[in-house]
Subunit: 451 residues, 4 copies
Amino acid sequence: MKTRKIRSLNFDIERLGAARNSSPLHLSNSKGDNIVDYVSDAERILFDPTERQCERCREKGVTPPSLEAAGPRELIYFKPETVKAAILTAGGLCPGLNDVIRGIVLSLHYHYEVKEILGIRYGYRGLSAGSAEQPVALSPDAVENIHREGGSVLGCSRGRQDVPEMVEFIKERGINVLFTIGGDGTLRGAAAVSREAKRAGHELSVIGVPKTIDNDISYVERSFGFETAYAIAQTALRSGHDEARGAPNGIGLVKLMGRHCGFVAAMASLASGDANFVLVPELKFDLEGENGLLTALEERMRKAGHALIVVAEGAGQEFFKGQELGTDASGNPRLGDIGPFLKERIGQHFSGLGLEVNIKYIDPSYMIRSAPASATDSVFCLQLAQNAVHAAMSGRTDMIVGMWCNRFVHVPIQTAISERKQLDPEGATWLAVVEATGQPLSMENKTGKSV
Amino acid sequence: MKTRKIRSLNFDIERLGAARNSSPLHLSNSKGDNIVDYVSDAERILFDPTERQCERCREKGVTPPSLEAAGPRELIYFKPETVKAAILTAGGLCPGLNDVIRGIVLSLHYHYEVKEILGIRYGYRGLSAGSAEQPVALSPDAVENIHREGGSVLGCSRGRQDVPEMVEFIKERGINVLFTIGGDGTLRGAAAVSREAKRAGHELSVIGVPKTIDNDISYVERSFGFETAYAIAQTALRSGHDEARGAPNGIGLVKLMGRHCGFVAAMASLASGDANFVLVPELKFDLEGENGLLTALEERMRKAGHALIVVAEGAGQEFFKGQELGTDASGNPRLGDIGPFLKERIGQHFSGLGLEVNIKYIDPSYMIRSAPASATDSVFCLQLAQNAVHAAMSGRTDMIVGMWCNRFVHVPIQTAISERKQLDPEGATWLAVVEATGQPLSMENKTGKSV
Amino acid sequence: MKTRKIRSLNFDIERLGAARNSSPLHLSNSKGDNIVDYVSDAERILFDPTERQCERCREKGVTPPSLEAAGPRELIYFKPETVKAAILTAGGLCPGLNDVIRGIVLSLHYHYEVKEILGIRYGYRGLSAGSAEQPVALSPDAVENIHREGGSVLGCSRGRQDVPEMVEFIKERGINVLFTIGGDGTLRGAAAVSREAKRAGHELSVIGVPKTIDNDISYVERSFGFETAYAIAQTALRSGHDEARGAPNGIGLVKLMGRHCGFVAAMASLASGDANFVLVPELKFDLEGENGLLTALEERMRKAGHALIVVAEGAGQEFFKGQELGTDASGNPRLGDIGPFLKERIGQHFSGLGLEVNIKYIDPSYMIRSAPASATDSVFCLQLAQNAVHAAMSGRTDMIVGMWCNRFVHVPIQTAISERKQLDPEGATWLAVVEATGQPLSMENKTGKSV
Amino acid sequence: MKTRKIRSLNFDIERLGAARNSSPLHLSNSKGDNIVDYVSDAERILFDPTERQCERCREKGVTPPSLEAAGPRELIYFKPETVKAAILTAGGLCPGLNDVIRGIVLSLHYHYEVKEILGIRYGYRGLSAGSAEQPVALSPDAVENIHREGGSVLGCSRGRQDVPEMVEFIKERGINVLFTIGGDGTLRGAAAVSREAKRAGHELSVIGVPKTIDNDISYVERSFGFETAYAIAQTALRSGHDEARGAPNGIGLVKLMGRHCGFVAAMASLASGDANFVLVPELKFDLEGENGLLTALEERMRKAGHALIVVAEGAGQEFFKGQELGTDASGNPRLGDIGPFLKERIGQHFSGLGLEVNIKYIDPSYMIRSAPASATDSVFCLQLAQNAVHAAMSGRTDMIVGMWCNRFVHVPIQTAISERKQLDPEGATWLAVVEATGQPLSMENKTGKSV
């Protein structure tokens, strides 16, 4: 990210008003008493934790950009007994949704003694006046075991709803704290609801818990469900590898999530240790030509007799240029289906060479999305949930709970959605992929002419 | 960690000499060409990535402490064809050992074309003159599938060996790069070998990959195998919880790893979401008395009818004061066995109250240590291995590869072992535990009188 | 089993009366219409399905012993609307309890439209007048997801209750169908309740679903939870094996369930493929002496450098002769703890030989008992449950649902508990163990003198 | 199966000659000595283990059809030192292939001290004169850990080879025992090789280990890999169910293996407990019309708001009548792809009704085929392997090792492949499915007119 860009970013968190109520958490304010401490509003994490950046700021005499630390505050905004909270999950399934719901409910109930917690059914749809599905009451009993299962007990949906109508619904129900668990689109909706509530004079804290199985939200080092996702993807890669080794001239081809970024593909490939080619949206590749994938694959097959190719769903979209693919229910442009496309092109190529190859194509998408959270993700979801509740109770709004330098932080929604996070094709993760696979540093032909 | 302490720390990495050979990796030096970049020696990660620290240094006009970034260098020290590398694993088993071994072998072989790689059997024992077990040759073929399995293909052992004897062995074999994968004791050994080699005039790069299933090595945000460990521990907690719920007045009691720190216990408890009491070495607790564990447990049992207690093996050692427990094969003091101790004391307590309780005691230790690495740990191990190889080839020595602010870094061994990492009893992880369990903020009686 | 013994067995199932009501299942009675058929009362499975047995009966002109096939009958005894059913689980936890509960509830509700189904808490304890825990209503909604989790939603308990008191409770509540899921002791209780109800003139069908993680109930080829049990035990063996290989002279020692029989130990060892010695209650063994375990183990260690020993908890009880061990809550004699005993004796033995061995002892008991059912067991539990319901609705009582020759059958409780099932030390399973481990055909010294 | 059919079946096993050599296994021949016994040639398992069948034979004075029991014989045909064995795996991958290979190698090596064991690469292809891939030597070391992984270390292939050419290859190499692990086609090949060897005067025992992930080989109660297959399929169904519940009007649609039979679909559905419709090749169904699937699905959606449909790949092939689909590499007719077909038709149907449904389609095929064997299957594979070796050493040929009434038996290849095993649409398994799903007993319209 360019320095100028960072400078212009806003990391200030909006608040409903001054926090004047004492927290019921009874934590400590002093170091050394072995009692957990409140977090101070002055605690901030550097956006760029390098010596270089710190020195540069020292030279220029400026304060480096930083993000506010998350955590429980000694003074909170809401009187707990006045809080009526609501939770919704939107978009597609992602491992950990139930963990986050459970964590929010338990934290509201036990830590802040909030008694009214509503579960909104099927995302924003459940906030629309005409929704067939009424909110459900959420209590510790109701959520006791939900973290053991995949999916979302509240249900998700895609698509947009009328913002003033939703705020009207929120107002009528007396909801003053809203947790929205979802991706890019959901966060845009959350920001709109927050603004509209303000306009309509309804005091409402809107806190987002960013959900993106692709791991593509900025200022969020890692999103929940992501580690579970690539863990299950790893088993798909293992299948692809074992199938490839189990047949003469076998080629395993696995398509993974990642519309705009290759994080799942990259991490699953590193986890598997068996991938030979990883194709991601961040790096264009050619099929034919000296540097092209097919040439490199041919060499691999002649040398080793089998290969494993991992492709992110958003990779190679340049091959579908000119095709009218339309948009999905969330309004996102539909992608060309790179998996079957590659399967066909690879088959044609080797068939043309007179070499019989056995291509096994695997698309584990829904088996990943619906999985229960891994242990790591369960911990992460729980901490996101607890910090989301602390943020809401402190009167913050229009923000998400993120993670930066391994610490939980607050990020304004506008900043978080200002651009999509992508793999740095010159950075450490991609280096590891290139080293682990042995694939060419670039699979684009010099002329840049795509085939 | 106190500021004074940090100031006095040495984060400078020792080198065998100037790096004058070109890396055979053919990476890039320029941003924007979509080719992975070499890492510059000037790239350093702040020890304390907070705004406060940066401001403080600005005020004082000093450079803040920082750690050198890991990664491939453009200029390396060794001519690859002159490298003879050796790898050893020491201490107890830990998930990921085979992943690290494999990663080092593949990186040496494919990236630097190092042809001679020895696997030393059973830790330092295999470097002693009289070892029954000769080193084995390691090649990509030999390590192809080892990452799919737990344990260590090289074997581990505890105990110390004569340092000059080991250096003599190393010298005789012409080994000039040594990777030691192990914990505290192993790292001390690695430092001693590095110094002795220097003294003996044998050019040797010694690179440690820190292994601690307890996650207690300083300047290493997270150690490999740790996430796998608490993932499996989570299933033990689930068993404990289900057993507790499945019997009248059931109490699940699970002992987990952690001689000096409660990381595994804390994270497994957060992952499970079902723990009611987490006992760790960092926080003393009383059994009897107003604040004591038994009082809190009694209340829990009366209210809920079942409970889950998680105890780190190093917790409550004050109850064994005065007992002569001796030392283990690694020379560590033996701990009092807190699990059976608690089981007995809890049984006595409720028996004294006339309340029949069903205590189910679970000790999953070896089932955790011998597990294959989880996907997350596999990725981590691979990157540790790759960075260890880059560090060795660059001529660094007497250091470990660690992780800080989510980046791979170099840490001098002396610094890494200067003190053990522990849970901050006033920090974010312990806050999450306290919030998730609802256990008292302190289970010590005010008078501090232990029972 | 001796022929005389079999002849004297009673395989007749007791019935409350003639079945005169039409089944609401609307199945078919004719072959060839592609509609599922009712099962005829005349369908019987041979006790001994060998040609020899059939020929022998032909010669003697007698009908060979056989078991009644389970399944839905065209005519049933109860009018569904008059049924009030209750379900209880007793003894220790076992994988699949929730599957059986769920299967019974769904079958009663959907197939026979039974509307009143009670869940009795904590086994027979919940049928006693003074029970603190009242029965809970069970419905499809209440059991929707319980099969995904281990444990028992109803809770289990050990210990005996007053039979007339329980029948009084049953009568007062109007319960006329009782499903008892439990082992040997539970089945004895079920038989007693059935008889007492008859005596007291209360019409009651008592159907047992045999639960024994040890797999030791006669006329039940395989008990639910057993396959899950040895699958998890397999992972413990893998840990033991990897620990053994990971240390110099490593010995893995794993204790598994099996008070009177070695089925779990045998099958887990076959599944692991890595066990070297399997010790079971059915076969005495000596420690010392020419044929003794220690001698064989010594040889193994000298040859291979590592070993894996699997011991059933009931093996080697002769080593504890003369010790007063008392009885447990279920009234079973407590066993000597063979695991730590062997660990100590093996340690002493090698210590005496001056050979340092590393013994890693694993006891995975509760992690096995509390596991959710495997896929195979889930199917099995579901079919047991469905057949238990069919049996109850047909007016049968004092029986269990078993499996014989891969078919579901009815077995009178008295017959099922007439003797415990054990491994045949001369049969196919033990042959496979002996072949897979390479252990001596006998580890008893010729003189039979135990050490 | 019709009685006439059974009568005409041949259950006699072909032998190379009289068994005159003593077995080196040193087992026992007498009951009661607690030493494992040899199996007698007279031990036979009834084809139909019902009382009815036994009575019928008694009336008619005939011996009922029966299968020879498998197991070690006291007298064997081959002198072990003269045996040169070969193993091949053919067809597609199936969980357990490596377990069977390992079991055969270990049994040959340790039990019969056979020293020469060849692994044939890529099925029959590796027996053809021009094969690029030479056989590999198999030893206990080579197969030590292969059972922990999926796939086949030997590789599989489809397609036919010239039989005399293969026999020539076998003869030249001096192979006299051949184990073929594969399905229908592989068994036909095995029978042809056995006959051709006899014709060519080369003494050769050919023993088949039936491999069919579909579980469709006759006289084989259960095939290896089948339980693993439906266990993994169960997780796909769980995903389908959670996806269905997680979206408004969600429909999970999972396609499973089963070209000619619905065993995997049926058992996975029973294991999941969440399936609402199971479609199998054995039962035709209509889409439209009163009884059609779409009508039933519509009702389900209106009532419950979500549904899970499981379809075997061979179901509904009547919808593809008239389409030219060709054959695959094994020469099997290609099937119409019922998964996408149903997805489209269901989408159209609800779209026509103005009801938005969310269909999530899952095809886990390769993730199932390449999985490592479950514990149950590992045991089963091991016993199949051991019994295959015993059969070969006893001089039997042209047979497979099967399982009947829970016992291992010998079946002539011709008999085993005489017809495909299918689900009995009127039997116990399908009853359980109908009961568990609540789906209509028939989804064919009365007129039988398909839509």
